[in-house]
């Protein structure tokens, strides 16, 4: 057994006995980390589900291109070529004026409750175009619409409905706001965790001092504290992810009907795996950094004497 593994083993043993000797402060730190990670996790869940909802509603945005009555077949095929060359288009549906009129009459009947029967069809032929989901899809749609508008065969272009536009604005606002809140939240919770770890190390200054006095190397002093911090981070994040898993599955079963009514086919999302790992990693990192800085700072104070 070489010296490095020996040191590691001793440190691990020291860590375990330290934790046993300071159960209360250890548990308090773990609890603080668990709560903080839990808050961040819930926040992520909210954020992701809001995003998923937005995406699912966004799917419904479509572009309707009404054609002039006197459009020539060559103009029509030009138009189709434009559609085909646009890589962001997902599907395209040709709607004849007859079909459109039937649909229109049906919706009028359902909503206003009166039957239109004019004896002639005032509507033109049209194309219904759906776009692939992407970051800046709605901007792309409006640009593409502007382009089409200039096309000679196109009577008019209609896209989205007012509410989707408004709703999208609201969602983007929400996203921005939540992003800001999330950053603040993370910073705040990181501060809280590192303060707790700092306090718990603070109450063990005498121990650090003594270890140095009886000939411990700086790393021998630091490593068990750092291991402890890492363990706190690990334990804290595991506790809270377990708890969140429970909350998640509860919400999922409890709220399924309302979720279905909001967005059919949308699943209530848990934190996605990369973010799950990120949370665990983050809390380990905080445990590490906070304990490292605290011991380091305190040892600096001691060395200045």
């Amino acid at each position: 057994m070489n010296s490095a593994t020996q040191t590691l083993l001793t440190s691990l043993r020291t860590t375990v006995s330290n934790i046993r000797a300071n159960k209360q402060t250890f548990l308090i730190s773990v609890m603080t980390i668990a709560i903080s990670v839990g808050i961040l996790g819930l926040f992520l869940i909210i954020f992701f589900n809001l995003n998923a909802l937005l995406t699912s509603w966004n799917q419904q945005v479509q572009l309707v291109v009404y054609l002039k009555n006197d459009i020539s077949p060559s103009e029509k095929s030009d138009l189709k070529d434009i559609f085909k060359s646009n890589s962001k288009i997902q599907s395209m549906e040709e709607v004849s004026k007859e079909k459109a009129w039937e649909e229109f009459k049906l919706t009028q009947k359902n909503s206003v409750g009166l039957e239109l029967d004019l004896g002639f069809n005032p509507l033109p032929d049209s194309y219904k175009i759906r776009f692939k989901a992407s970051e800046n899809r709605s901007r792309h749609i409006s640009e593409f619409a502007g382009q089409l508008q200039k096309n000679r065969g196109v009577e008019s272009v209609e896209y989205g409905e007012k509410w989707i536009d408004r709703f999208e604005k609201f969602m983007i606002f929400c996203q921005l706001f939540l992003l800001g809140v999330g950053v603040l939240l993370s910073l705040g919770l990181i501060l809280i965790i590192s303060n707790t770890i700092r306090l718990s190390i603070y109450s063990r200054q005498d121990e650090i001092e003594l270890m140095l006095l009886i000939g411990a190397t700086p790393s021998f002093v630091k490593i068990p504290f750092i291991f402890e911090g890492i363990l706190q981070g690990l334990a804290g994040s595991f506790v809270s992810l377990g708890f969140m898993g429970a909350v998640y599955s509860y919400l999922k079963t409890e709220f399924r009907p309302s979720i279905d009514s909001l967005a059919r086919g949308m699943e209530l999302q848990f934190i996605s795996q990369p973010f799950l790992l990120m949370l665990v990693g983050l809390s380990i990192l905080i445990g590490f950094v906070a304990s490292y800085i605290s011991t380091y700072q305190y040892m600096q104070v001691l060395n200045k004497r």
Partner: protein, 218 residues
């Protein structure tokens, strides 16, 4: 070999705690350090194991210039010393046994020997029955003996003892003194700060007397 050349130590305000102190202690010597309260005994010991800086002068311990050491290598100096602190400095969360064993763990000793050596050190100071007690469960004298055991357990070449018998009765004191003398016979250098006339009386060892930061007699 321990040498202080014209050391001046000033804690900040007022008169210096050590004022131009020069002391030479040979390897294997047994030296008492005495003097009234506040004379500077503890300060000298603290300087010897690198716990306090000094403003002027030179300090050599086993050929090491103590003033040149920094946080990264001071442990090499400290590992050559067993220190008995005036206020014991026991860890309240560790038992007597763990406190003594810890001094060996810190210096990365062979695990297998730790148990045996701890046991032996506790036997030397008569504390085997208290090995599983925590410091708060010990009498003052018992705590002091734990501190003595911890300083001795690594059989260091130098022992710095700061008032190690202040809370011990005469009988145990003289036993502890005998223990120090035995260790000294085995080659260790011992610097023993004390007030006790009873300990100093026999006159078997050199006595350095300090007063107000100055060496009065040596």
């Amino acid at each position: 070999m321990i040498q202080l050349f014209n050391v001046i130590k000033n804690y900040g305000s007022g008169k210096p705690a050590l004022d131009d102190v020069s002391i030479k202690i040979e390897k294997g010597e047994f030296v008492f350090l005495t003097g009234p309260s506040g004379a500077g005994k503890t300060t000298i010991l603290k300087i010897l194991f690198g716990w306090e800086h000094y403003e002027e002068g030179q300090v050599l311990v086993q050929g090491i210039n103590v003033g040149r050491l920094d946080a990264g290598n001071i442990h090499t100096l400290r590992r050559s010393m067993g220190v008995i602190f005036q206020d014991y400095k026991l860890l309240p969360n560790k038992t007597v046994f763990e406190n003594v064993a810890f001094a060996q763990e810190v210096t990365n000793r062979d695990r297998k020997k730790i148990k045996f050596k701890t046991w032996e050190a506790l036997k030397n100071v008569g504390l085997t029955p208290k090995k599983d007690s925590f410091p708060a469960q010990l009498s003052g004298g018992e705590q002091q003996r734990v501190a003595i055991a911890r300083a001795m357990v690594n059989t260091p070449p130098i022992i710095l003892a700061d008032e190690p018998t202040g809370n011990l009765d005469q009988e145990i004191s003289s036993e502890i003194l005998k223990l120090f003398e035995e260790i000294n016979r085995n080659g260790a250098t011992i610097v023993f700060a004390t007030h006790s006339q009873e300990i100093l009386k026999p006159g078997k060892h050199r006595v350095i007397v300090l007063n107000r930061g100055k060496v009065v007699s040596s």
